[in-house]
Amino acid sequence: ADLTISCGAVGAELTLCQEGVAAWEDKTGHEVDIVSTPNSSTERLSLYQQILSANSSDIDVMQIDVVWPGLLANHLLDLNEALGEDVADGHFETIVTNNTIDGRLVAMPWFTDAGVLYYRKDLLEKHGFEAPTTWQELTETAKTIQEAEQAEGNDRMQGFVFQGRAYEGLTVNALEWVASHGGGNIVEADGEISINNENAAKALDLAASWIGDISPNGVLNYTEEEARGVFQGGNAVFMRNWPYAWSLAQSEDSDVRDKVGVVQLPAGGEDGQSAAGLGGWNLAVSRYSENPELAADLVAYLTGLEEQKRRAIEASYNPTIDALYQDEEVLEAVPFFGTLYDTFTNAVARPSAPTGDAYGRVSNAFFSASHDVLSGNMTGAEAVEKLERDLMRLKRRNW
Amino acid sequence: MASVTLEKINKVFGRDHIIKDVDLTIGNGEFVVFVGPSGCGKSTLLRLIAGLESITDGDLKIGGDVVNELPPRERGVGMVFQSYALYPHMTVYENMAFGLKLAKENAETVDGRVMSTARILQLEELLHRKPKALSGGQRQRVAMGRAMAREPRILLFDEPLSNLDASLRVQMRNEIARLHNRLGSTMIYVTHDQVEAMTLADKIVVLNGGHIEQVGSPHELYQRPATRFVAGFMGSPTMNFMPATLVSSDHLGCRINAPGIGEMALPQDAQHLSKGAELTIGVRPEHLRLAEPSADNRFDIVNVEYLGNEVYVYLDPKEGDTLIVHRSEAPSQWKEGQAVSLIPDTTHVHVFDQNGKALPATQASAAA
């Protein structure tokens, strides 16, 4: 084959990718192999790195996470060079910035993701609440409903579930809390460490107060699926999760089918604003590809408007092109794309671009500190102070 | 009470019927020796008594209780294995001390017993060696020491002296006899050594192909073997057998014709046999006299074996293929190649019928 692409490990995603690739093959007459990669993103990353650091051309086009461009930049082709300066025009600004390392566009945005808040419409209605707009409101609502439900004999009812395990997911969750409280972005775009502030501490303290109260202790080891498990089992009032949970919660055999609402994540206090963690995937071309032009062309095609529209309609993948959020066909298929448009465009990116190679450490330090606060080992203030020190140490060799 | 009773004991290995209807009573404190050809089931019988093999059929009683189901541990037996079965990781000392129940015996008793056993067996200098670094005979003595140190009420010995030199063997034999006197325990002993069997046993059991041929005192077995098998088995060199025919018989005895030797008048009762019946006569080497050859009694000496204190003279029988042996004090006048005549001592001739059963003495001569 002329090219090898690694895209979408997961079922529907893989099918979509295959279709897209097939279309390109028809169009250009080239042949493309599709290899599947592990679902776990760390495993996928290390696999890529393994191959890339061997300067191997085994994979030409790879699907990379929004936090990876910084890490992989050295091995990736500058797409601006290959496809022209304007290739990323029309894509979400945040993502394009995220993917631009040292002035090189190393990956094309493909689809995006952002944290949203799921709630139980039925329960909120029953107990006379509206969907919360601040975390404080969420806390109270959750507590009231949880207690009331438990009193009614629904022992297992929990107020709020999220991703509390010490892993990348917690970085996103905690960043959402901090950012929504105006606590900054951990490390700002210019490389400045900003985490040691009151708001950040407050946000973490608030989250810590949930544990054992409105959230089960086990949430400290939850990832997306455990949280969804609880929520979809009808045992939680609120859940922070990615949009993927929507279609599953709405599936035919779901316990909470048609009882679920989705809103943007709450804001931190009256003067805070909602902040959704940015997720999503991009397509990049390996520098060691034997057919870089061809590969770039494939990337351009797959991330193009046509293809993104198809994906949005067929499988509700969030496009990264502004225009598609006004597209009638798209909105018809996925109504909440319209309502949550702001959420997607304003999603906060994790500080992977400024920290580059060190992002892993930064994220690790951050989720560890957050986890410490959640498990009650530290107060928010202590944690952010220590975190700042740790980050300074990490910054020793400059990001 | 440590009497041992075997009642119609049978043992089958797969398709091989190894022990066949063995009935035997061994009194408390008796010293019984099992003898028999290689593979006749001696070890198997010991292992059945020890409880190491399950009894296929029949009852085994120890002190009156049926113990078929009792594990070896609870039978109160000690055993010297034919294959030694030493604990490879323990020193000689530990091997011997292991069986002494530490809970009951205090350390001093254990030490005392082990040391005295070691002294008896001349193992004192080897106490700290592992079996691997011992010679065959030394291992065998350790195996013996292990069983002896425990002083159980029943002791089973499976060819315990086979790898020892003659003089050590004599000493060990005496030690075993002394131990038997001191402990008064029941002992069952397997050996291939005639001397051991004859000197140690209160009672000898001759086994053949899994069944008992004869039980009796050493004297009895040697003097009055009940079957040709026993006659041939006891005594070394072995008894000479020659074919013969019955000439006549009455209540006082019989006349028998052994081809090549001549007619003999014997005190055996052969009245139930018809004239001309085919018999076998048996004469021990020491009951054969050699003389100058005659025309109809002439045998060739094919081999003369010198044993230091005695000489075996082998003669070529004219019928059959087993050599005839004559035994006499050394030095001997006979040389290989010479011809001689054979003169049996008729008071010591055994007669066997075609089934190998010995003909009994007549009433008259028995009374004499």
Binding site: A166, G218, E226, N364, S368, N377 | R73, F81, Y84
Partner: protein, 325 residues
């Protein structure tokens, strides 16, 4: 008579002992031995030589996964360096020390448990009974399931909300409220240990079983006749005789335990309360891209294991002779 029949205890002048004099026979035997060793040594060198050397080497550089070629040799800075009034390097990282402690704790506890239960299971598998085949196969199942799957399975079963374990315990009335096994710092290490023990008992059991099967039968008969209680026989005969095999099982379990990764990673991820040295090394190598630093951590891990092994072999030198006889 008896005086002359003493055992031939060597007396008289001793010959100068010339042990190990290399005769041609011995030399030929040794040559054959090396010939037999060669394929194995070649295979191992081929497979392991370069990777191990490379790890050593990289630990002295500042290599980064994103660009290995740009590595500079920086000496022992990855291990320990004093800079700007602060100590840096693996040895100055409290997380590293935490992971060392976690690993050692984990290894000692889980290997001990595995050995005890492994031996018990092996003894049972060694007994003759109907259906032994089935039981043998069943016992091996935990080892047969890929770790990545079984660890996830346990994560699932240990889940506080919909895990079967809490469900059963609550049904049995042992606990009131569900326990967050893998989340709480108190339980998570024990959860990890439990899963590891569950998974590796078969390994120990199988090795011990093989050792049990190769024991000489006849000295058991001797012990039985000697009237020795089975428990005593086990401790005095069986155990000493299977010790070499057991020691090997323990060595390899120890090596694996000290390098434990999958179980901890899947069950509790990067949580520092259970982080092992391998998880730490992997975090540095893969997640943090710092090949130099990660290699240093790996090398330290190697050194710690090597020390532990040598100490272990030294302590047990009477039981397991390194090729001695």
């Amino acid at each position: 008579m008896s005086t002359s029949l003493k055992d031939s205890a060597p007396q008289g002048a001793r010959l100068p002992i010339r042990q190990g004099r290399s005769t041609k026979v011995r030399r030929q035997r040794v040559k054959a031995a090396w010939l037999f060793l060669a394929p194995m040594l070649i295979a191992l060198t081929l497979v392991a030589g370069w990777p191990l050397f490379r790890t050593f080497f990289l630990s002295l550089t500042d290599a980064s996964l994103s660009d290995l070629d740009a590595a500079n040799i920086i000496g022992f800075e990855n291990y320990l360096v004093y800079e700007n009034g602060l100590w840096f390097g693996v040895l100055a990282d409290h997380v590293w020390w935490q992971s060392v402690w976690n690993t050692v704790y984990f290894s000692i506890v889980s290997v001990s448990l595995e050995v005890i239960f492994g031996v018990i299971v092996a003894l049972i598998l060694n007994a003759e009974f109907k259906g032994r085949t089935i039981v043998r196969a069943a016992v091996l199942i935990p080892w047969a399931i890929p770790t990545i799957v079984s660890a996830q399975m346990w994560a699932w079963m240990l889940n506080d909300q919909f895990g079967i374990i809490n469900h059963l315990l609550m049904m049995a009335g042992i606990i009131e409220n569900p326990i967050a096994w893998t989340a709480s710092a108190t339980y998570s290490m024990w959860a990890v240990i439990m899963v590891d023990v569950w998974k590796t008992i078969p390994f120990v059991a199988l090795l011990v079983l093989a050792a049990l099967q190769m024991l000489p039968k006849d000295c058991y008969e001797a012990a039985e006749v000697d009237g020795i209680h089975p428990v005593r026989v086990f401790f005095k005969v069986t155990l000493p005789l299977i010790t070499p095999a057991l020691m090997v099982a323990v060595i390899f379990r120890l090596l694996d335990a000290l390098r434990v990764f999958d179980v901890i990673y899947v069950l509790t991820s990067n949580s520092t309360s259970t982080m092992s040295m391998s998880v730490y090394a992997r975090q540095q190598l893969v997640e943090f891209q710092d090949v130099g630093y990660g290699s240093a951590a790996s090398t330290l891990l190697f050194l710690i294991i090597a020390l532990a092994t040598i100490a272990y072999l030294y302590v047990g030198r009477n039981k397991i002779q390194l090729g001695g006889d």
